[in-house]
Amino acid sequence: MQLIPCPWCGPREEAEFHYGGQAHVAYPEDPSALTDEEWARYVFFRENPSGPFAERWSHNAGCRRWFNAVRDTRTHDLLAVYRVGEPMPEVTA
């Protein structure tokens, strides 16, 4: 059970959170202007790195806020958490 530091509530157990996959994937400005390939990219394709990964979590059973985190997918260690809208911080894995 990981301890995830919610930017608002502080550290809470993973069971209170919902995972949201890769962070910083913006909804396309104008989907109708995209090719099928580009649209498929948005709908189905996400980064899946082995190493630091900017991802989204929601503190579902707590403050219900979405926030971002950088986590090393090899160790599962959280390297940083930051709020939606904030840039991804520099981290060292």
Partner: protein
Amino acid sequence: MNLRTPTGGAVDRNTVLHFTFNGTEYTGHPGDTLASALLAHGVHEIGSSVKLGRPRGIVAAGSEDPTSLVQVEAPFSEPMLLATTVELYDGLVARGLAGQGRLSAEPDPARYDAKHEHCDVLVVGAGPAGLVAALTAARAGARVVLVDEQNQAGGALLGVDEYLDDRPSAEWVADVVAELRSTPGVLVLERTTAFGMYQDGFVLALQKRTDHLGFAAPASAARQRVWRIRTRQTVLATGAHERPVVFADNDRPGIMLASSARTFLHRYGVLPGSRAVVFTTNDSAYCAAIDLAESGVDVALVVDARPEAPARLATECAARGIEVRAGQVVTGTDGPGRITAAHVGDERIACDALLVSGGWNPVVSLFSQARGKLRYDAELGAFVPGEELSSVRVAGSATGELDLTACARQGRDAGAGAARAAGFTAGGQVPLPASDSRCTARSGLVLWRVPGSDDTSFVDLQRDSTVADVLRATGAGLRSLEHIKRYTTIGTAHDQGKTSGMIAAGIVAEALGVELAEQRPTTFRPPYTSVSFAALAGRDRGELHDPVRVTSIHPWHVEHGALFEDVGQWKRPWYYPRPGEDLHTAVLRECKATREGVGMMDGSTLGKIDVQGRDAGAFLDMLYTNMMSTLKVGRIRYGVMCGVDGMVIDDGTVIRVGEQRYLVTTTTGNAAKVLDWMEEWLQTEWPHLDVHCTSVTEHWATIPLVGPRSRDVLAAVAPDLDVSNEAFEFMTWRDTEVAGVPARVCRISFSGELAYEINVTAWHGITVWEALMAAGERYGITPYGTETMHVLRAEKGYPIIGQETDATVTPQDLGMSWAVSKKKRDFIGKRSFARAENNRTDRKQLVGLLPADPSVLLPEGSQIVETDRLPEPPVRMLGHVTSSYPSAALGRTFALALVRSGHERIGETLYVPVDDSLVPVTVTESVLYDKEGARRDG
């Protein structure tokens, strides 16, 4: 045979306990384990081995024992326990196992629970290192938890008769424990094994709370408890396990680790036999030889594999008449079962106990689970912690240190360091105890095996894996220890290789001619010792397994004999059978009553979300396929939601409550998902929108009142409401009072009939329900459940999300192009409609099916084929039946189905394989009842 010493040991000799083992009755004392009590009677043979059926005895005194597997039969049957860790109680019944346990068919009556605990410093192991660590951290003011798997603190000290600071070590231990227990914020847990070490200071520990009480265990107490410990810092003071040396026929009962024999002597007052041979590679076993000799065992010989015996200890042995032979090894044993002789050189030395020491393996399982790297210590012949971790420290013999004072010093450093790292400045220094111990295992010789018959040289005594197996594995080309583990199964048994793993690695390295330093040990995984399933399930069983959600009206349904359907966590009334009715007759009655008179159901489980803000309309326009911003205040619109992939995910009604306020409903199963979906878009994608969503699902009780007489019933309970069709139009809502309670009434219909949906606060749900029942009595008002609801809507061709849809269905497939806005620039899912696959003409589309024989009910889930004869498989399938019912209104059966090019096939005959026949069906539009919508207004 009585092998209990006249005095000594920590057992209560004044109390006699009776127990039965393998059918024979024995006695023992409080403080005994099953193993010590058996040894006191000279019983070494416990069970037999899993593959070869060879007798198996007791090798170690603690949880690392590989062989003493028993099935406890009373008070409750439990398989695969170790005699060495089963504490004796009166009435214990057990039997030795042949490698496999047996599960009881009786339900386990015991309670199990879990508890969360938070601390600054967790110390695992209450030997000298752990005790000093815990005390140091406690004195610094940290919240400390100290756990030890044994029933008392002391660790290795429990098995020796040594003195600390010139007093019996037990007194030193007792003092430390007393101070810890009296320090606020310190929790000392005995019989508690830390079995799993996870990230972020999360340690799982299993406490055996009442096992030792046997029949006296109170039923109300949790037998075992899983402690979910969250700590900032951990000190691992888990000690070291002695390891044997492998030689031919090394598996006979009576062959035991030397330190374990010493533990049986000092802790339990039990001798391993009457004539012993000691075989060692290091100094520590000399203490066993000397102590046993002093207790009356005839110690025939100490065989020291080293070229020279340690002078001082050899002299001590000589003084006690013990012969010491250096530079020799034990090469084999004799015995029908239990050992009768040890082979040394050409000699067979008669003995009934052979005590072996091949050195010590630090217990590094938890350190390794914490992702700590291990390093091979060639002097010790073992893997030891090879790096420092930021929140996990290791102290004592778990590091490979074997000297007591040095262990304690490591404990003090680790305790202080941990407290500091957790933000506490160390308090008073804990003085280090001085030991009078004579035997330390350093300066040992690393010896894995004595050459001999490979086939009977056992490496893993529980798995019956031998040196021959190891050599067969290396001979087959295998080099990685992981492969050899899996090929030979060494280390995969109950003990997870605690005593065998290191030796296997050593033998492999020798066979391959590689350095052990280049080998990686096999992976340590939780649990450290085995944990019962029931303990892990804890209280999450039976009615607490998963919350049962009920509505405010639920008690009424129960009282009126409803049967329930599980929908997610909810219990929903399925139908209300009258005496003698089955599902179909009850549902036909409920349907008929509703279509002809009036019926009502509990719709409270529908998800309800209040959406407020200036941009609420624009937001809902993005979420729904149709337009919501143009809805007028006071009106209601049905809406469909898709995922970004264009597949339908939910549907429901949207009420415009005010200029900046909507109330949307969702399906029962998707309530939480839809709210999450909305929040996700709002928070992560469109934070610039002024919209806020609030769940009000459980604030409202919702009662659909359905049927031609619903208007009359409503009029009777809502005197302020003009219920006329003109004043209260379809798809509008009104706030009023129903049965004297503030209510919001919506004119919507999921059945095609005139219908209202009455919403009141949940507190009033049951009152209003009863008022409606009373008011409707003269019209024969009939409560109905989900099944009737499903039939009524199916007759109208309305899909149920999750029944007609399965993540591959678009609104267009459902015939709902009318609900897909052409005007909106974008909404979620829109772009996906333009993909090639979405524009195929042969997509599966929702249609009705009428079996040619109107009495034939198609099973839901049936497949549909084109031909009236089945070709050889694979048969081309056109789709499947999603819903199928007998219909009171249609006077026949009907079905809904998803059918390839279904919309084009209307009028065609298709076939449905049912059992061994093909049922002809006619494809129709999905709406089968009241196509014109004449009944809507009553």
